[in-house]
């Protein structure tokens, strides 16, 4: 794949560079801490930076030698990027709406929105009804158990 003078493992190298920068930021924050509170953060951040530098160096050397690019893990490379992003976006929205709409409403909406991102085939009317019913039963059932049996105070929204 990667010919000579191509960067080996570009994603990994970028992340390593980010983590090195992150480590530097964290060490910068230890200035106000007591000596005992800062010894571990400084040691671990330094270790992370050194390891990151090692990884970058190694990848550059392999790249210069024209080594083979590391194949991405199969699982994460395949499939629809759009769905992945949609799923994560829906989850973020779900969490953001919890305090606004209340636990039940937000969860019902979130549940079906996530379902939409995971739906790959066309579904017939019968199946669709079953899925909706199943969703309501699952969300409703757990909501009831959490609220009434385990007595967990769930955020109430403007509707419920």
């Amino acid at each position: 794949m990667a010919g000579p003078r191509h960067l080996h493992d570009p994603v990994g190298t970028t992340v390593a560079a980010l983590l090195v920068a992150f480590g530097a930021v964290l060490i910068g924050q230890t200035g106000e801490m007591t000596p005992l509170g800062s010894v571990f953060p400084i040691t671990v951040s330094t270790a992370m930076m050194v390891l990151g530098a090692l990884l970058i160096g190694r990848n550059v050397v392999i790249g210069l030698r024209g080594g083979r690019g590391e194949a991405e893990p199969e699982e994460t490379a395949r499939g629809s990027k759009v769905r992945r992003i949609a799923f994560f976006g829906v989850m973020m929205l779900w969490v953001a709406l919890l305090p606004i709409l209340g636990f039940f409403t937000a969860s019902v909406l979130g549940f079906f929105a996530v379902m939409a991102t995971a739906l790959h085939e066309r579904v017939g009317a019968r199946e669709a009804i079953l899925l909706v019913l199943a969703g309501l039963v699952i969300v409703g059932g757990f909501y009831w158990v959490m609220r009434e049996v385990l007595l967990i105070p769930l955020p109430a929204g403007s509707l419920f």
Partner: protein, 513 residues
Amino acid sequence: MDKFVYLFEALTLVNLTLAFVGVLLGIMIGALPGLSATMAVAVLVPFTFAMDPASGLIALGAIYTGAIYGGSYSAILVNTPGTPSAIATTFDGFPMAKRGDGALAITLATLASVIGGLVGVLMLMFLAPPLAGVALAFGPPEYFWLAVFGLTLISALSVGNLIKGLMGACLGLLLSMVGVAVVGADVRFTMGSQTLLGGINIVAGLIGLYCIPVLIDLVATRDPHLRVETEAKGYRLREAWGILWAEKFNTVRSSLIGTVVGILPGAGGSVASLVSYSEARRTSKRRAHYGTGEPGGIIATESANNATVGGGFIPTLVLGIPGTPPDAIILGALLVQGIRTGPTLFTEQAPIVYTFIFGLLIGTILMLPIGLIVGRYAYRSIIAIPKAALVPTIAFMTVIGSFAIHNNIHDVAVMLGLGGIGWLLNRAGFAPSPIVLGLVLGQIAEQGFVQSYLIGNAQGNIWAMFFGRPISLAIAGFAALTLFYPLVAGAIGARRARRSQADLTAEARDGGS
């Protein structure tokens, strides 16, 4: 043995029913990530006030042991440990389920949990007072080395890219430092947010780092979540027994490790299962297969974490020092019932204590049939449910689970944030497990280190604190062994090969002359 009188006290219909219901409830609560054993026990304590002390204790013990076992379901089927004790169960459990051996994995987890649980309870019954001393023998330096030992497992987990594994561990350790430090009370890395003062919750981290990436990859393709086995059907009980028999040393060793680590008030089920996994892997001939769906890995972690239940009760009952968080709640319940724990408990309150221990024993045995049936049902449901229903259900669980930790939306946000970061890192080749290990062990390591330093400084000898104590040295030795064993074993093997070669040539020469 006069103790066995109490077996019949434990065998009343009420107690049996309580043990049965307790185990069943515990399994279900434990299987849901975020709903932990601690929470299950805390919720049910008020109900036990109305019962007589022994029955109440039996119910609480049954829920506790069931919850620790139930954590293996989600670890195996969804790659998300239901409780922190089941972290290491994901390493081999989920790969097994993915390739179609989910039923076998669950049956193995059930058998191993029951055996581990029994070993723990039997140690509690017969050896509690002498073993309680272990809890006191472990000071800050020992906890520091124990955490280091746990971290050496990273070298094994990050096959392929050790540097990335170690960087992940550093990141996890840094995550564990977020919040107000126990020693020194520095506010660290909260980015000005008050919601991070209490730190990043381990369970929120677990759910995020393990479960969210699985879901993100699930929605992307049409493929079913788990491959469905075609030939082998049913519980695969016979096959599981065969594997367990072949791994009998592993099972016993892990159960013993689990009991002893359970006794340590600062460690708990997650450390116990990580340590026994590490040892199982180091001593196994099939070392290379660990992490890719090796049954021995499940056996090691599941027998160890259920052994911590009995082990944890040892310091709780003998010293009044709770071994694990659920033990702490049970200790509180005992106080309300008017029972004082401590050295005199086993003599003065013998009826209650032994009835309870037998009750725990019965609960553990009941876990076998209940676990097999519930486990099978759970596995079938996961396979049968279409993806369009499975993904939102698991997503809902991640929200509920992380919310229930502290009844708090902040933990849900932390869970999701870490999940997204975890998925990106995983894409770049940074696996989640080293990060989780760092997160789980960071606090233990740091507190142990700083406390040891302070004590050593006061006594004017810091080096003796870290390297002058026998238990510390032994644990440090095991850590070094785990880290360098592949190299050492390789070197020994090579030398042996050379020597036998030399012997042969010498023989040939001698024979020739």
